[in-house]
């Protein structure tokens, strides 16, 4: 619960910052809030963070459903990273570190520490609760921040193409979470 809250807070903070930046840029008639290299950096961070969580789950969990979910997360997010890496290379874009990606990594460090401190069923529940909250936050960020901010059509299409997978991951995580809660 604490972990889910951390994520909700992270993205609330990110969105608050984005909204403020948006307002500023609208008034100043300047460039968009995030450039394409910055969007690429946020996308890489969001995928890498979930791969890192899955590694912890594989180390700590003995629950078959959790392990299966973690394997799917590792495989799918690695596939997205590979697609994104190939695309930015093709476009000649270098992902640019920014406030959003830095905040994501910083909060992920806290979450990983909290997860590592747990074991057994408490870990399984914390991991799945976090995955539900994380995917909700990432879906929202992709839909309302990253896609609208992206100028390059191919990068925008990649972000649109990964949305169904993120939604499927969320439904999968909620299914495992529901099974835990009904036990």
């Amino acid at each position: 619960m604490k972990i889910s809250k951390t994520f909700t807070n992270t993205f609330s903070a990110v969105f608050a910052a984005a909204i403020m930046l948006s307002a500023t840029s609208v008034f100043a008639q300047t460039n968009p809030k995030l450039s394409d290299p910055e969007v690429a950096s946020v996308a890489v961070a969001a995928n890498q963070i979930d791969i890192d969580y899955s590694k912890i789950a594989k180390e700590k969990s003995k629950n078959a459903d959790v392990l299966q979910f973690a394997t799917t997360m590792a495989t799918d997010h690695a596939a997205v990273l590979a697609k994104a890496t190939a695309l930015v290379k093709k476009l000649g874009v270098t992902p640019k570190d920014n406030a959003v990606s830095q905040k994501l990594y910083a909060d992920a460090e806290k979450t990983k520490k909290d997860l590592r401190a747990k074991s057994g069923k408490a870990f399984d529940k914390a991991y799945i609760d976090n995955e539900v909250a994380y995917h909700k936050a990432v879906i929202s960020a992709v839909e309302t921040l990253l896609i609208p901010e992206t100028e390059n059509a191919e990068l925008k299409k990649l972000l649109q193409d990964i949305l169904p997978a993120l939604k499927s991951h969320l439904a999968h995580a909620e299914m495992v979470q529901k099974a835990f809660n009904s036990k």
């Binding site: 299966q68 799917t72 495989t75 799918d76 596939a79 997205v80 697609k83 193409d161 990964i162 169904p164 997978a165 939604k167 499927s168 991951h169 439904a171 999968h172 299914m175």
Partner: protein, 119 residues
């Protein structure tokens, strides 16, 4: 006289044509197995529900960014094993089945098999 010969010739030609068409039809049984395509795209099996005749072939084409599989849902009695992006897998439909992707367990589909008499 000439006209009746022409008419006779025309009917002869027409009869031959009808005979030939019948021959072709009878040499192709009505229950010849067909091939059906299920596309895997954007985390969905399309179509989700497929009606086929017994013995038809169903080809699953993975057009998604991710690896998927096709697995019998109730007992996991058979599976395609992982189908890479851009690859395909085929099966012969012998009975109706609920299937899912065991990698993305919320992805589901159904094949409804119409039994063919005499098979």
């Amino acid at each position: 006289m000439k006209r009746s010969v022409k008419l006779f010739g025309f009917f002869l030609l027409l009869s031959a044509l009808v005979f030939l068409l019948n021959c072709c039809n009878s040499s192709t049984p009505k229950n010849t197995p067909e091939k059906h395509i299920v596309e895997i795209v954007q985390m969905k099996f399309q179509p989700e529900v497929l009606h086929v005749n017994e013995g038809d072939t169903v080809v699953f084409i993975n057009k998604d960014l991710f690896v998927h599989d096709v697995t019998e849902e109730l007992h996991k009695s058979w599976t395609s094993k992982p189908i890479a992006s851009g690859s395909s897998w085929k099966m012969v439909a012998t009975q109706s089945v609920d299937y899912f992707c065991s990698i993305h367990v919320v992805m589901k589909g159904k094949i409804i098999v119409n039994k063919v008499p005499g098979k």
